[in-house]
Amino acid sequence: MNGFLAIYRRELLSLWVTPLAWVLLTVFLLLQGVIFYSIITHFASMAEVSVDTGPVQAYFGQESIFLLMTLLLVCPALSMRVFAEERRSGTIEALLTAPVTATSVVLGKYAALLTTYALIWLPTLLYVVILRKTGVVDWGVVGSSYLGLLGIGAAYLSLGTLMSAMTRSQLVALLLTIFLEFGLFILGVGEYIFDPGLFRDVCAHVSMMGQMEDFSKGILDLRRVVFDGTVTALGLFVTTRVVDSWRWG
């Protein structure tokens, strides 16, 4: 536990004293701002709005493809250096010869990434505050939407951590993660392409867009949570094994 906390704190410090987190934050907020602005202007020009849709639902739900595209960029960039850089620079040797377990190393680093991810989303709460000034906001929907985003981020960052442990090159880690997560994303798009059947059901289950559409309506589907949790746990488990395997390289 000691090791976990020490690594978590160091990793957070490292993320925020180097430009990486700030660059990602800036790019992310810029993109979100554009998306949010276009959604707002779209709704502002509409004469009638049905009960079930609104800017919040559109932002997190129907139009979530834009939001997910930015995550496909931000998450891999956030996780790419987490192990690759330690191995390239050799600091991993000092880290693994301290009395810590591979599990605390992996979890400490991962928790720092997830915290940073949450911090990057934090300023978008302002959008909701702005909306509240002019209309009614369903806080339940806001809450479930952020929960959905946290789930997707958790899964993406876990896969990114695993890819970063696979290579000494940050660039390779970044590309591998983008391929993997884009593949997962495209699989979800299959829901709209394939004929009804088992494959389409599978696609619908793993669809990130489907997840956001459900969560943005306030539907907390346990299957979605289980899927995110499984991907996260699997990624972290394999990463732990990979870290352990370095001793035998």
């Binding site: 050799g90 600091t91 000092a94 693994l96 010869t97 009395p99 035998w248 390289g249």
Partner: protein, 327 residues
């Protein structure tokens, strides 16, 4: 403190370390010596728990590193080769991180970091970002890291590599000063380092242990010995007189001058010759030839010679150069 038995480590097909056994007692300062690519770093990485042994056993402070890895790692301070550090952290931040990682109780962390920085001579750099430090200072920060948990055993992989002569002297003094009941195992390919800091040396070459013992014991392994001789030699007959004794060869060391009253010669004793009998015969022959002996100085075998002989011997035995190098 360290017990190694039949340790073998291979990287796939390349055997980096084979069947090494040695032990290091409490309070000893031991040099781990070998040419580049001999398997020094690999061995130390296994001892520090960074790499797993292919076969064999290692016990650190009584804990088997395979069965109780964390207890073993808790007992040692390890300084990896080339001192890798996080460039974005400040020196004090880094040492605080390492102290937490090494389970230094939070009440003692501040004092532990302070004393480690003092000992390693980086106290005045506490607030500096590591990326801005020179190579010498980084090396010292890594040393402070090894000291921060005040471990009974230090394993230092080439602690003076890349330092300037003044810094090397300081680091050596520091290592010697650690002494007391603290055990130190340091690797180096510089022999004078072992002579300056260690009581005992372990020599490995091509992954095999070739010699082990105190510095004196290693010196005594020197086979060929040499003498330097200063003579008054009016008839220039010294060479002829010496070479008449079987097993001795001679060459003139002083520049070729006509000053026959002060010649300096070097006499090399052949392999397998009894040095005492040879010196007796040499003195008798010179006296009989009417040559005056001013000085006869047996040349101390430097560790350098012992080392090159040990490793050259091994090469001849192996026949062909073995595959593999520094990993």
């Amino acid at each position: 403190m360290i017990e190694v038995s039949n340790l073998t480590k291979d990287y796939g097909t390349v055997v980096a370390v084979r069947e090494i056994s040695f032990s290091v007692g409490k309070g000893e300062i031991v040099g781990f010596l070998g040419p580049n690519g001999a398997g020094k770093s690999t061995t130390l990485r296994v001892l520090a728990g960074f790499l797993g042994a292919t076969s064999g056993h290692v016990r650190i402070a009584g804990h088997d590193i395979a069965e109780a890895p964390r207890a073993a790692r808790r007992a040692l301070g390890y300084m990896p080769e080339s001192a890798p550090l996080y460039p974005e952290m400040r020196v004090s931040e880094y040492l605080l991180f390492r102290a937490r990682l090494k389970e230094v109780p939070s009440a003692k962390q501040k004092a532990a970091i302070g004393s480690a920085m003092d000992r390693a001579g980086v106290a005045h750099m506490a607030g500096t970002v590591i990326g801005h430090l020179s190579k010498g200072y980084r090396q010292r920060v890594a040393l402070a890291d090894a000291l921060v948990s005040d471990p009974p055993l230090l394993i230092l992989d080439e602690p003076t590599a890349g330092l300037d002569p003044n810094q090397i002297r300081e680091v050596r003094a520091l290592i010697k000063g650690l002494g007391g009941d603290r055990t130190v195992l340091l690797s180096t390919h510089i022999l004078s380092e072992v002579e300056a800091t260690c009581e005992r040396a372990i020599v490995i070459d091509r992954g095999r242990l070739v010699a082990e013992g105190t510095i004196e014991e290693l010196r005594a392994r020197q086979n060929t010995k040499a003498l330097s001789l200063r003579v008054r030699d009016p008839n220039a007959g010294a060479e002829a007189a010496i070479e008449r004794i079987s097993g001795l060869s001679v060459r003139q060391l002083s520049p070729d001058t006509a000053d026959l009253a002060r010649r300096t010669l070097q006499v090399t004793l052949g392999v397998g010759l009894d040095p005492e009998a040879a010196i007796e015969a040499l003195v008798r022959a010179l006296t009989e030839a009417g040559i005056g002996i001013h000085a006869l100085i047996p040349e101390q075998a430097s560790l350098e010679q012992v080392f090159s002989e040990l490793t050259a011997h091994e090469k001849a035995e192996a026949g062909a150069p073995a595959p593999g190098g520094e990993r």
